[in-house]
């Protein structure tokens, strides 16, 4: 009886919380619309005293009244000092966020890098610069939600880039959530915060799910007919290209020349001719729901391309067929198709 009641009241409370959060979101959308760059100002900065601050200010005001009533010039002076420190702190705390410029960092949010698998963290890069050349901002916590904030000790001079990451959960185009900037500078008496929204997107591939390649898929229609997947030694015959180094690669395959040229750590890829191209399709996984099938396909794309033995193609219902191909760029083409399907 009792637990039923509390469960129901819990549900009502949850409902209300949800409703209020939605309302607040809508209100914020109107007040601080999303943009590709913005400057924090009166419309986007909120400020309230912290609990310590409220006690500080209230206490100072009460004691000031007592001091005035007792006509003690020394305690009037002291308590008025504390009260004015409290008020000054409001201005300093507001000013610490005011004028701060946020923008999507140009160089690092281009599409080739802005992608990950579902379940991984999307990395956003944001450029942040002070209000003016002579201004400096201190101790600002920045992040996407309250639990994962990182501290910027000082923002001064030219613009600096910060990297924020946020967990992704579904494939598709991922829209960066509202950011949170929070500061209690200088004395923790006030907390000012802002919820700017930068228009940043991320491409999220389906989460790879380990699954075996079906033994036989001759019934797969059209072009994939007659293809076979047989485990062979990885190709050593022909140099195919370079891909970025990943841990576990043999040292013999590291492209030392390109490293010497300053192009970073690369691994040489070789392929052997004679491996027949594979045409992947959802029909390979009958009986699974589409999302699970996409996860399996995602896994197979990564696996097959990284082996580099065969050309891999993809056909998805309702979208254009992708011709078999090789290499990193092709892998991302395939994964993008998987991410954006339907």
């Amino acid at each position: 009886m009792d637990s039923g009641l509390s469960r129901r009241s819990g549900r009502i409370r949850q409902h209300w919380r949800h409703y209020l959060a939605k309302r607040q979101e809508r209100w914020l959308d109107r007040r601080v619309p999303s943009a590709s760059s913005l400057r924090l100002g009166q419309r986007s900065i909120f400020i309230l005293p912290t609990i310590q601050g409220a006690l500080f200010g209230f206490g100072a005001a009460v004691v000031l009244v007592i001091a005035v009533a007792e006509r003690n010039p020394f305690s009037i002076l002291l308590t008025a000092t504390l009260l004015s420190l409290f008020l000054l702190s409001l201005v300093l705390c507001y000013r610490n966020l005011s004028g701060l410029q946020l923008a999507i960092s140009e160089e690092s949010n281009e599409l080739p890098r802005a992608r990950c698998f579902a379940g991984e963290k999307a990395q956003f890069s944001i450029s942040i610069s002070p209000a003016g050349l002579r201004r400096s901002h201190h101790d600002i916590w920045i992040g996407f939600n309250n639990n994962e904030l990182q501290l910027q000790r000082e923002i001064t001079g030219s613009n600096s880039a910060i990297h924020l990451s946020v967990e992704t959960d579904r494939r598709g185009v991922f829209q960066a959530p509202r950011m949170l900037l929070r500061t209690r500078y200088p004395a923790g008496l006030w907390q000012s915060w802002s919820r700017p929204h930068l228009n940043m997107r991320y491409l999220v591939y389906p989460r790879p799910a380990v699954c075996a390649m079906p033994e036989r898929y001759n019934d797969v229609p059209e072009s994939s007919q007659g293809n076979q997947l047989t485990a062979r030694q990885s190709g050593v015959d022909d140099f195919f290209g370079l891909r970025s180094y990943s841990p576990g690669d043999s040292r013999r395959r590291i492209a030392w020349q390109s490293l010497a040229r300053g192009q970073g750590l690369k691994t040489k890829q070789f392929v052997s001719e004679g491996d027949a191209p594979v045409m992947l399709s959802m029909a390979m996984f009958p009986g699974r729901d589409p999302e699970a099938a996409l996860s399996c396909l995602s896994y197979l794309v990564v696996l097959l391309i990284s082996r580099g033995q065969q050309k891999v193609g993809l056909i998805l219902p309702g979208s254009k067929e992708i011709k078999p191909g090789w290499g990193e760029a092709h892998k991302h083409k395939l994964l993008q198709a998987l991410a954006l399907w339907k």
Partner: protein
């Protein structure tokens, strides 16, 4: 080990407050500062600030404020220099804000100190009275006293005549008190039955004067306070802070005999001046042989002739009584009391002016009477053979509603044009009185203030903490709190140091190894960024130093395993790898 500068400074600063009276607030304040309970520390500091009494103490408190601001700096791990710079810049920046605030406080009417308070009592009760020289009586709504009666005393405002001083000397312009005191050291007469005794507690605001107030014939209980035979209550000290005294009042006892000296003093008038008034008194005397009938005739004269009660009378000439009685015919209580006393004395009836307060407003919340400065009043006492001293109030004959329902009710019954002549504060008060709910709020606030005063202060206006220290002193334990708090302070300081060391020891061997590595990496500019995880850090090193990539990769995995897996951790391997990496970079 680094002892924070704030901690050292706070320990050093413990010693000055030991000499001041607020040490029992300052010691816990500093203890809290060390323990990082900043907000408790702030509140104790604020309480202690009310005891500041010199520029030295201001400087001392400012140093504590700087320490506090350092401790409250928004990033706890920041260095001392950074914290100090921030605190000092805040102090400097606050100066303009402070100046504006002080100007506002003073503009709002607050008094900076009570040194120049002599002008204040001018609107209340003073020991001289010069009716003709005042053209405007500013009614001051400041609190004069609060009175709480014991038991169920059913009193109406018009019965409450709070006697203060008796003014017997008149020089043609000014009424003043006679300095001669005739002490009455008798206790309350036993013949007076208990039911006709009034017991009450008076809380008097600072008057800067040396007399108290009471009803009828009042017997106060207060050290160094004496009764005069005329009913004046005199104190040997000047009332500089709020005092509280219990009083027992009995109906005025008939004083059937009047000694020669007293009779002479209460009949004395200047030889010259005010001849018209003398003529009038002579005519009345010829008409009425009986004193009582003569008094009634004077009151009837005020009532029936076109006399006006006003707070803004015209000034009177040299012959102030004549001018008032036969020319201007307008004035407030002082004019009427002065003129009536003059007429009675001239007609041969001993009379005197009494000044004090009249009425008050009853507070329904706590059931006390609030008497304000604008309740100040002057009235007449005349001596009749066989009846003794009788209270006569000529103001009641001119404006009875002024006495029955109080000054404010009388003022608000006035027309608009008469109200225009009033001072701004009074008009504001009248307006506020007409706002619904204002009086309820004011009564509640007044009740709260009264409750606070009763609870926190003793009868002489000192904070009740004295009671505790007196009790300790009486047992020879006067220094006990200081010793206890001093001991506590040492313990706290020790604990703060030990906790720091313990926190380091509790780190897992893996993390300690990683810290060692990080210190080494810091020197080559590859240290961990604040937002980085260990794994991310290792990955960054791998990309920056491919020759270390393999080792860093493995170490990263070992470390994260050590963090999340509880057993089977090969710390030796971790240490070995750390040493290897340290040697190569």
């Amino acid at each position: 080990m680094v002892v924070p500068v704030t901690l050292m400074a706070a320990i050093l600063l413990v010693f000055p407050p030991m000499q001041t009276q607020a040490w029992w607030l300052m010691l816990p304040c500093l203890v809290c500062l060390i323990m990082r309970w900043q907000i408790i520390s702030v509140l104790l500091l604020l309480a202690a600030m009310t005891y500041a009494d010199s520029w030295w103490s201001v400087a001392y408190f400012l140093i504590i404020v700087v320490l506090l601001l350092m401790r409250m700096y928004s990033r706890p791990g920041a260095g001392n220099r950074e914290q100090l710079a921030s605190a000092l810049s805040q102090i400097v920046l606050t100066i303009p804000v402070l100046l504006v605030m002080l100007m506002l406080i003073l503009a709002a009417g607050a008094r900076w100190s009570d040194r120049n308070q002599a002008d204040r009592s001018a609107t209340g009760v003073s020991d001289t009275m010069t009716p003709g020289s005042v053209s405007e009586l500013v009614s001051d709504s400041a609190l004069a006293m609060r009175v709480r009666f014991d038991g169920e005393a059913d009193l109406r405002p018009e019965e409450l005549y709070w006697r203060g001083l008796v003014l017997e000397n008149y020089d043609g312009q000014t009424w003043s008190r006679s300095r001669r005191l005739d002490f009455d050291i008798n206790p309350v007469p036993a013949v007076v039955p208990a039911e006709s005794r009034l017991r009450y507690l008076v809380t008097l605001e600072p008057t800067q004067q040396n007399w108290l107030y009471g009803l009828h014939q009042a017997y106060p209980t207060r050290p160094q306070t004496y009764r005069d035979k005329r009913g004046i209550i005199v104190t040997s000290d000047v009332i500089r802070q709020r005092v509280r005294y219990p009083v027992t009042s009995i109906p005025a006892q008939t004083q059937l005999t009047l000694n020669e000296e007293l009779r002479e003093r209460n009949l004395a008038l200047p030889d010259v001046g005010n001849s018209q008034a003398h003529d009038m008194a002579r005519r009345l005397r010829a008409q009425f042989k009986d004193d009582q009938l003569l008094i009634d005739a004077v009151l009837r004269h005020f009532n029936e002739r076109p006399y006006v009660y006003t707070l803004t009378p015209e000034k009177n000439s040299e012959q102030s009584i004549d001018d008032f009685l036969f020319n201007t015919r307008e004035g407030f209580c002082e004019h009427y009391a002065g003129a009536m006393t003059f007429l009675l004395r001239s007609a041969g009836i001993p009379a005197r002016v009494v000044v004090g307060y009249q009425g008050g407003s009853f507070n329904n919340v706590t059931g006390h009477w609030r008497v304000s400065q604008y309740n100040a009043h002057a009235w007449v006492e005349a001596w009749l053979p066989g009846e003794g001293w009788q209270r006569l109030d000529p103001t009641a004959a001119i404006a009875p509603e002024r006495i029955h329902s109080g000054l404010d009710a009388w003022l608000s019954s006035l027309g608009n044009e008469s109200r225009q002549g009033l001072d701004r504060e009074t008009r504001l008060r009248l307006f506020l009185n007409s706002v619904p709910g204002y009086n309820a709020v004011r009564e509640t606030l007044d009740a709260m203030q009264y409750g606070w005063d009763l609870g926190m202060y003793d009868n002489e206006g000192n904070l009740r903490t004295e009671d505790l220290s007196n009790w300790l002193d009486s047992r020879g334990l006067g220094n006990l709190p200081a010793w206890l708090l001093g001991g506590l302070l040492v313990l706290v300081a020790l604990r703060a140091m030990l906790v720091n060391r313990q926190a380091q020891q509790q780190l897992s061997p893996a993390i300690r190894a990683y810290r060692k590595l990080n210190r080494k990496l810091n020197k080559v500019g590859l240290g961990r960024e604040p937002s980085e995880t260990i794994l991310e850090h290792m990955r960054r090193i791998s990309s920056a130093r491919p020759d270390l990539a393999d080792k860093c990769h493995e170490l990263g995995h070992l470390l994260s395993e050590a963090e999340y897996k509880q057993n089977n951790i090969d710390y030796r391997k971790i240490n070995k790898m750390v040493v290897e990496i340290c040697n190569t970079c």
